[in-house]
């Protein structure tokens, strides 16, 4: 063993002395700009512990802090929401409480705060990674809800359509 370590020491010495003098300043592996944006799923680099502490399971994570709902249903918005949902949502979600690919929508607006819904449908990936309830749901559905690229208006209209589905008049 001793002999081995002395050979090693010698090697390192020789290696260093024979090595070429190159500036190590050139880092060819450096990314040309920042790493992929937050849109990429599960590629967040910040520590999970900090995220878990910061995560608010009532609000979710995303751009919406507070969503004001009208006392009554906005019929026009709900109608627009139904159109968008037909293209982007109802392939996987039924309006009843029956699970299709994802859970049925019935009573979602009473189970969840409006800001949670808005954040989840516009920013699903980080929430699937962090929200305990969503993670439990994922164990049942086994399909991550895709980001369907909803804009603010579309998302808010879908929420109104969900309210209509839950009997808001």
């Amino acid at each position: 063993m001793k002999r081995l370590s002395s050979i090693f020491a010698l090697t390192i010495l020789l290696f260093v002395s024979c090595g070429k003098k190159e500036s190590s300043g050139d880092d060819f592996s450096k990314p040309t700009t920042e790493a992929p944006s937050t849109e990429a799923p599960s590629s967040e680099t910040s520590s999970a512990a900090t995220d878990a502490e910061k995560y608010d399971p009532h609000r979710g994570e995303g751009k919406y802090d507070k969503v004001d709902l009208g006392a009554k249903l906005d019929q026009a918005m709900a109608t627009e929401g139904e159109k968008v949902a037909g293209v982007k949502c109802t392939s996987c979600h039924k309006l009843t409480d029956e699970k299709l690919v994802g859970p049925g929508w019935k009573d979602v607006t009473t189970r969840r705060k409006p800001e949670w819904i808005m954040n989840f449908i516009t920013n699903p990936d980080p929430m699937i990674d962090k929200d305990p309830a969503v993670q439990a749901q994922l164990e049942i559905c086994l399909v991550r809800m895709p980001n369907q690229g909803l804009n603010d208006t579309e998302a808010r209209n879908i929420l109104e359509y969900m309210r209509k589905n839950d009997g808001v008049k």
Partner: protein, 657 residues
């Protein structure tokens, strides 16, 4: 026992390590100690450059990262690609249409990136089809072939697709002169001298990249080989190398290598433009097609064109000039300043470098050496800046860096030679493995080379990789050219046989507004199903249109009955996903074409003609979720005349209780 064994292994390992680390430079393998570090891109990190490499006889365009040599994508261009449904889906078939009908293969030789003010701008990559002459434009927002234009009057579109400094034109010179399509081509082959003509095409490129054959210049019959545009002071000129000025029509190997000098043809295209405007071009009757991809309908259309304007180089005395160039010139390259034109005579023992200023004064002072079939020949010395003496054997192509250096590939002596453009002194040489053809320096044919790396694309591979039988991968080598000496840092295999390649900084391409998916709201495909409520099956006589949707992880409909023998079934599949990197595939048993690969928001169509009665499974081919294996369905095929009604459904076709 075991310990001793390990010890001896260590001693051997240590020994060889010492040997390697102390090995003097240039002692055989030509790789220096830190090569791995220079070419290493850590997992999850990005490369510095995109490298757009011709796929040669594969007909496709490959995209690599530099300096890692990692393959990112193969973009189908001139050949069908069953993996992506290119040339198999109904929407893509028109892209491969030509005046000869549907052509499923070609030979893609050269790539050229679009430029603005002589600098690579990251919008498009152009590529040429050598066999059935065409030019393609690949859109770098989608990495998809957006347009293909055919060229009439041409045989072997080799001298292409080189662009002018603001991408005003993309040019194409004929490699094989032929009688024009507008005359009778049914003539004896040995009447080459009388009947065969060269045509050079100038294809105008519009703001959105749309290509239009503006005019052609007809020349005496020769073989045009390569070309490059003037830039800066020489903007407005285009330079074409030509060989077979002997006008041989057989055994060219011998008969086209007779003369000491062939030519580089200098074309004043601004002057040619003026002549076209002044009505000096003849309208000729020809037939060619132009195929365009529409991003909103996700469909290509092919239109046939019947006319081309042709200028006669011998009648109009001041648009073309011949510069004598030794021994069958191949590469024809213009340095970043636009002053020096490098002709690489592939059988010559020197490299002539011409001066644009001297060429201009020679033309002004009529320093001519007679004419070649009616085109003035400029006196060799009058246009010559100087010659690079003894550069090596078989010079082919030259690229440039931003420091006044040129890099020329030497096919016969398998090396790259670095030389100083002004002094013409050879500065360095490195071996390649083996028989190098084209070279690429990022931005190396533009006004603003980015330098740093030089890639050699070799014609012969031999022992560079583990052997794979008679056919081997093509080999490319990356050299670090940031210092005085060129240093080999990596080998990487390539597809097809790469000819020219271009490279640009990664940020220029990745920040160009690239698409991550297609917006479903903007999908104007006539058979799109935007949402499952639009999914349906419609019969029109024996044609059956299936409006199908796909989302993780099911098709709608996934049960179809009532298809009969004799039907033509069109599956129009809309991918409802609106997220990056979630394509769905589609395939059905017995389909005589290929799969579909449908990008998020896209609609794509597979034609299927059932050949027998029975049950036909269909499924998603691109693993999409944990329930991907469940993404499948059935089509029931009944005999002709059967009374099984046409029905379709998803999730409701349950067993009768």
């Amino acid at each position: 026992m075991k310990n001793k064994f390990i010890q001896s292994i260590f001693v051997i390992a240590v020994g060889s390590m010492l040997f390697t680390s102390c090995k003097p430079k240039d002692s055989g393998d030509a790789v220096s100690g830190d090569a791995a570090q220079k070419a290493y891109v850590a997992p999850g990190k990005y490369d510095e450059f995109y490298n757009f490499v011709s796929g040669g006889f594969s007909g496709q365009l490959s995209v690599y990262g530099l300096p890692s040599g990692r393959l990112f994508r193969v973009i189908p261009v001139f050949s069908v690609d069953p993996e992506k449904g290119w040339g198999y889906s109904e929407e893509t078939k028109p892209m491969l249409n030509t005046s000869h009908g549907f052509v499923p293969w070609d030979d893609l030789h050269h790539t050229e990136m679009s430029q603005t003010n002589g600098e690579v701008d990251g919008r498009w990559v152009f590529a040429n089809a050598n066999n059935t002459p065409r030019i393609a434009r690949v859109d770098l927002k989608t990495f998809k072939t957006a347009e293909i234009i055919e060229l009439p009057n041409v045989g072997g579109n080799h001298s292409s697709p080189f662009i002018t400094e603001n991408t005003e034109y993309v040019v194409a010179g004929t490699r094989f002169s032929v009688p024009g399509d507008y005359v009778n081509g049914d003539v004896p082959i040995n009447t080459y001298k009388q009947n065969f003509k060269g045509h050079i095409s100038f294809v105008k490129v519009g703001k959105e990249g749309e290509m239009d054959l503006a005019f052609q210049i007809v020349t005496p019959g020769v073989n045009f080989d390569l070309s490059h545009a003037g830039k800066g002071k020489s903007h407005g000129w285009m330079f074409f190398s030509c060989y077979n000025t002997e006008q041989a029509n057989t055994l060219l190997e011998v008969n086209a290598s007779q003369k000491d000098k062939d030519f580089i043809m200098a074309v004043n295209w601004k002057k040619a433009e003026e002549y076209v405007k002044a009505g000096k071009a003849k309208k000729q009757s020809v037939k060619y097609v132009r195929n365009k991809w529409d991003e909103k309908t996700h469909t290509a259309t092919s239109e046939t064109k019947n006319e081309v304007l042709v200028l006669d180089a011998t009648a109009l005395k001041d648009i073309c000039y011949m510069i004598p160039c030794p021994k069958s010139p191949h590469g024809c390259d213009v340095d970043p300043t636009g002053e020096y034109i490098v002709g690489s005579g592939k059988l010559a023992a020197l490299i002539p470098v011409f001066s644009f200023d001297k060429l201009q004064s020679a033309i002004a002072n009529k320093q001519f050496d007679g004419d070649y079939s009616g085109i003035s020949v400029v006196k060799y010395e009058a246009a010559l800046h100087g010659e690079v003496k003894k550069p090596g054997l078989g010079p082919l192509h030259t690229e440039f860096d931003a420091k006044g250096n040129a890099y020329t590939s030497m096919f016969v002596s398998s090396e790259v030679v670095k030389w100083d453009i002004k002094s013409l002194k050879v500065l360095d040489r490195v071996p390649t493995y083996y028989s190098v053809g084209h070279l690429c320096v990022p931005g190396g044919d533009s006004k603003k080379p980015f330098g740093k790396y030089m890639i050699a694309y070799n014609k012969i591979t031999k022992d560079r990789y583990l052997p794979t039988g008679p056919e081997l991968a093509q080999s490319a080598q990356i050299y670090d050219i940031s210092g005085d000496k060129m240093r080999l840092i990596l080998d990487f295999p390539t597809i097809g046989e790469p000819h020219y390649a271009q490279a640009a900084p990664a940020d220029l391409i990745r920040n160009n507004g690239q698409y991550k998916f297609y917006k479903i709201a903007e999908n104007n495909h006539p058979f799109a199903a935007k949402g499952e409520k639009e999914a349906k099956v419609v019969r029109q006589g024996n044609k059956v249109h299936v409006y199908m949707t796909s989302i993780r992880s099911h098709f709608a409909p996934d049960n179809i009955e009532g298809i009969k023998m004799g039907d033509e079934v069109y599956f129009h599949i809309t991918n409802l996903e609106q997220d990056w990197d979630v394509p769905h595939g589609f395939s059905i048993k017995g389909a005589n074409n290929a799969e579909l690969l449908i990008m998020p928001g896209e609609t794509t169509t597979l034609k299927w003609v059932p050949d027998r009665v029975g049950m036909f499974p269909m499924y998603c081919t691109d693993f999409c979720s944990a329930l991907h294996q469940e993404m499948s369905g059935y089509v029931r095929v009944s005999p002709a005349g059967s009374n099984v009604p046409l029905t379709w459904s998803v999730g409701t076709n349950q067993p009768k209780i």
